[in-house]
């Protein structure tokens, strides 16, 4: 599973989110082959080469193009909450069998 976490600048919020995603995937027993954090500008152009993109809720629309290409886009409300992220992965994807 290749994962991208993206926020406006790629240095604060996305880093916090990256950590929560790592915790959530561990809890769900899902492997991560690659996880990277970027700014939205960079994320927008690279998104299609990842399986899942996590981004704060208000930036979800920025990834419509990647979504159309089949990338799973997950909006996150509380970037610190691995519980919320785990719940969203369960509800919004079929990764957890």
């Amino acid at each position: 599973m290749n994962i991208l976490v993206s926020c406006a600048n790629g240095s604060g919020t996305s880093l916090m989110m990256m950590r929560s995603v790592q915790k959530a995937f561990k809890a769900l027993n899902l492997p991560i082959s690659k996880i990277e954090h970027t700014s939205l500008a960079e994320g927008k152009s690279n998104a299609r080469s990842y399986d899942i993109v996590f981004t704060p809720m208000n930036f979800v629309d920025m990834f419509d193009e990647a979504k159309a290409k089949g990338v799973i886009i997950i909006g996150v409300k509380n970037v610190m909450s691995d519980k919320e992220i785990a719940q969203r992965v369960q509800d919004e994807t079929d990764l957890v069998k």
Partner: protein, 152 residues
């Protein structure tokens, strides 16, 4: 531990007067980082510009803001997080009821590894049950010290 670090580096600012608006709040919340040369004043303009451009997403949970801009900015000189508390919530967007904050953790991120550690610690800190409520009740640096003593 991170809470201790804030005090050891003199990066705790408990404001007694409310901020005029969110821009004023962001400037005040970065003042200690400027004073101790972690950032140049220009970084605060970048932080404000970031919110103007991208909205109040720096409010990571209602009540808590994490102001930052590009880590690669030439106005970032060092790596640290400052803590600023205002006596009243600062409203970022009148139309968004979740976009208010009283606790401000401003980021300076020159060294990526050190910054990652700081972010991890901050995340753990803010996810500690009841800690946000405790920080909201702080009225002085002595109150802040008392929380540290109780946590450690």
């Amino acid at each position: 531990m991170l809470l201790n670090d804030f005090l050891a580096k003199d990066l705790v600012d408990i404001r007694q007067a409310p901020a005029k608006d969110w821009r004023d709040a962001l400037r005040q919340a970065g003042a200690k980082l400027v004073e101790h040369h972690y950032i140049k004043p220009g970084y605060l303009d970048e932080i404000i510009l970031n919110v103007e451009k991208n909205g109040p997403y720096i409010v990571i949970v209602p009540g808590v803001a994490m102001p930052h801009a590009l880590a690669e900015s030439e106005n970032v000189l060092g790596t640290a997080i400052s803590f600023t508390k205002f006596p009243e919530p600062v409203i970022f967007d009148e139309t968004n009821p979740d976009s208010h904050a009283q606790l401000f953790f401003t980021l300076a991120a020159k060294d990526p590894d050190e910054h990652l550690q700081n972010i991890s610690d901050l995340s753990d800190l803010l996810m500690t049950d009841g800690l946000i409520e405790k920080l909201l009740a702080v009225n002085s640096v002595a109150d802040f010290q008392a929380i540290i003593d109780a946590e450690s």
